[in-house]
Amino acid sequence: MPLGGLILLTSCAYLGILFAIAYWGDKRADAGRSIIANPYIYALSLAVYATSWTFYGSVGRAAVSGVGFLPIYLGPTLMAALFWLVLRKMIRISKANRITSIADFIAARYGKSALLGGLVTLIAVVGVIPYIALQLKAVSSSFLILWQYPTIRMPNQGEVLGPLQDTALYVALLLAIFTILFGTRHLDATERHEGMVAAIAFESLVKLLAFLAVGLYVTFGLYHGFADVFEQAARLPDVDQLLTLGGPAGTYGSWVSLIFLSMLSILFLPRQFQISVVENVNENHVAKAIWLFPLYLLAINIFVLPITFAGLMHFPAGTVDADTFVLTLPMALRQEWLALLVFIGGLSAATGMVIVETIALSTMICNDLAMPLLLRWKALGLAQRTDLSGLLLGIRRGAILLLMLLGYVYYRAAGEAYALVSIGLVSFAAVAQFAPAMLGGMYWKQGTRAGALSGLSLGFLLWLYTLLLPAFAKSGWLPLSFIEQGPLAIAWLKPLALFGLAGLDEIGHSLFWSLLANLGAYVGVSLFGRQSSREHAQALLFVDAFKVAGRGSSLWRGSASVTEVIALVGRFLGPARASEAFAGYAAQRGLASSAELVPDADLVHFAEQQLAGAIGAASARVMLASVVQEEPLGMDEVLGILDEASQVIAYSRRLEQQSHELETATGELRAANARLQELDRLKDDFISTVTHELRTPLTSIRAFSEILNDNPELDPAQRARFVAIIVKESERLTRMINQVLDLAKLESGRAEWHTTALDLKEVIEDAQATTSQLLQEQGVELRLELPAQIPPVLADRDRLLQVLLNLISNAVKFCDREAGRIGIAVQVLPEALRVDVRDNGAGIDPADQQTIFEKFRQAGDNLTEKPQGTGLGLPISRQIIEHFGGRLWVQSARGQGATFSFTLPLGQANAAATDAGRETEYGV
């Protein structure tokens, strides 16, 4: 039963499904609901590592070298353990610096060198083209084999097809169209292709399932498990050699070199870089890939040896190519559906590789080879054009087509020759040349552009000489003597035994020489050369990628609307300032107005900088995320931002609080200082007044003493009068000093108060008794008008007496000389007691009514009239009354006498009295 139509139909349907998945993935990405934003899809897409070289070729290799096929998968397993350190750093660096390919990475690290980027692109293209050819061969030959079902016949044996009959050409063209549709539908600033990644993950699933299906069918359907296969295989000739090392399976040395080589490949193959770094959504997805990816490799390899042995046992030696066992076994067993599934699996392995590889290479060709040249080509005037996206897309599409056709040409030229057989490893060895510049660039700040350039060039040339040229020679493109005798028969230049180094296998030999020269030149030239400042800056950025946290747009990937961004910034800076800032930014970029701005990462970075000035860097990023259609941030990143922000907020709050406290303290200090200055001034005034006042009595005492001293013959009456004056002035001096001290005490609050509940009547009567002598001398009559009942007040008895005595003596002094009359009246007001001391003297001028309460001020003219008091009595009295919570004032008119009144609060007194009473109670 021929399968022809079915094969074509299934293939087309499969490619249709792939395209649908890719389309759906892109749609979902545009809608912001990415389907690839999970670690399982990421790990599956990493399995693009397993190409048709794995799918068909593993069995082919195993048929020749037994377990020797395994190092290619053990290396990536080991490297997976280092993903967390190395791959995550590559992702971090690439995101921070918006790196889109491995050429970009190396160029950016060494001072954004276009030359270096071009060299890397060249190496990648030359190294990877044969690999693409291998995929084309796999697809076309598997197609041809299945086409002849149920006959099993190896294609291309002895017959030469014209290009138009060659399926490989159609496969190449179909894949080119497919890749162009996938990878360059639109120009994405992030160089990310979500739909493509989804399709690649799906392809990884398909090829795994297909291979497992064959493996399970062969191992458990055809045989009875692993042990049965191996037991029966033991009858095959030379099978022991396939299951031990040292023979065809490789020596320990070649084993190690293959592991090492594949470790480097998993990081530096352009398609691996594209999938694992550029297409990475969240660097935390790396964690799960660390074990999922090796698990995938283990699963796809576990049935390789059983299938190999089954094929070797089933087909007579030499009739069927071991590379096709995976397909021919189901065919020979008449399992057409399984064969079809295998074909689809092989197709997915090949298409996956070709799609990603050509996209990665086309990005490199476009960005690192074509554009730098075109932009430098002044005649084109490209640098002045604002929109280059159409041109970029055109270049990329052209590059994809070119790569595919180059692959086809290589395939046609190489045919079945040697050059295709171990071509996977040859490609691996080519990309391994990136290792020193890449790893050195990530971990060694000293690496220079010159070092990277010389290392890469030397490594590439040696790879060319020791691996690619011998492959060409074996294919018959170069004379075989080139290998056997060396060029021009110079023995030590033999490409497979350079400088006489023999005993290593080809790959190990080439790897040793090329990496030795590469690393040696890189390190040597770097150490003896100098870095430019730009290289140094980039080196710091790369090596310290994990330390340089949150550098502007580092975490940003996505798209934004200019108006929204401007509006957002306007919300924080004010619309006028924001549009001014963006207009300035636009002018700086050579645009007419901010309306022409492109919403790229730079714009967002600029906006972020503007915002950061206003709301802090951490918040700026969060704010921008609200208008920028951003990729979802990982939980860790969000937590990091929050942590940072809350720290900043807490810190600024603390600062604010501290500055507020400082302000308050400053205010208090200023007030205190002003008060101190005022007090100082008052003190100076007081002292000068006091000394002046003290000098008056002192002067008279001294004058009279001198008179007495100088005139001993003075008559006794005169003498007695003078002595009396001296005594009187001394008393006044004493009194004044006492009062100054008293006032000082009162004012400083150091006076002692013995507050008790008092009967005011008693105090007034005491005052009357004390002053009775004075009153009699002066002939002044004192009349009391006291109500029968006076509620008690809370006061210090002696102090209150002092006030009363002061007021009475004042009244005596100023009352009418002839018929002096003083009245003391007490009124019980609702809340206070009011005491009036009335005299019938000359009265006090309204102008003096306030000043008499100031220190050393007395009513009347101080200059002409002899002072009659100390000038301190009333201020002291007012202090005392105010201390009790009352008020002391005067009412007077010229010729009407004066009334000094004070109040003592009652309620307080009552309450305090009860308190005092209680205190006494408890005191007892």
Partner: protein, 66 residues
């Protein structure tokens, strides 16, 4: 962060264990051509060590994310 550096160190340890398991001389110990349960010794050893490494990675990665 301490958690993360610890994870990285553990993974480096797994890497070194893998290097040890897949190279001379440990490889030579199992290169004698014997069998375990009917499966060639080297084949069984290689896939066993491979699985062991994966289990170690699972333990390191999945435990430290919690």
């Amino acid at each position: 962060m301490a958690n993360r550096t610890l994870r990285a160190q553990r993974l480096v340890a797994v890497f070194m264990l893998g290097c040890l398991l897949f190279s001379y001389p440990l490889l030579a110990l199992f290169d004698s051509g014997g069998e375990v349960f009917g499966i060639p010794l080297l084949f069984a050893y290689l896939f066993g060590a491979w699985a062991l490494l994966i289990v170690a990675m699972i333990l390191v990665v999945e435990r430290s994310t919690r």
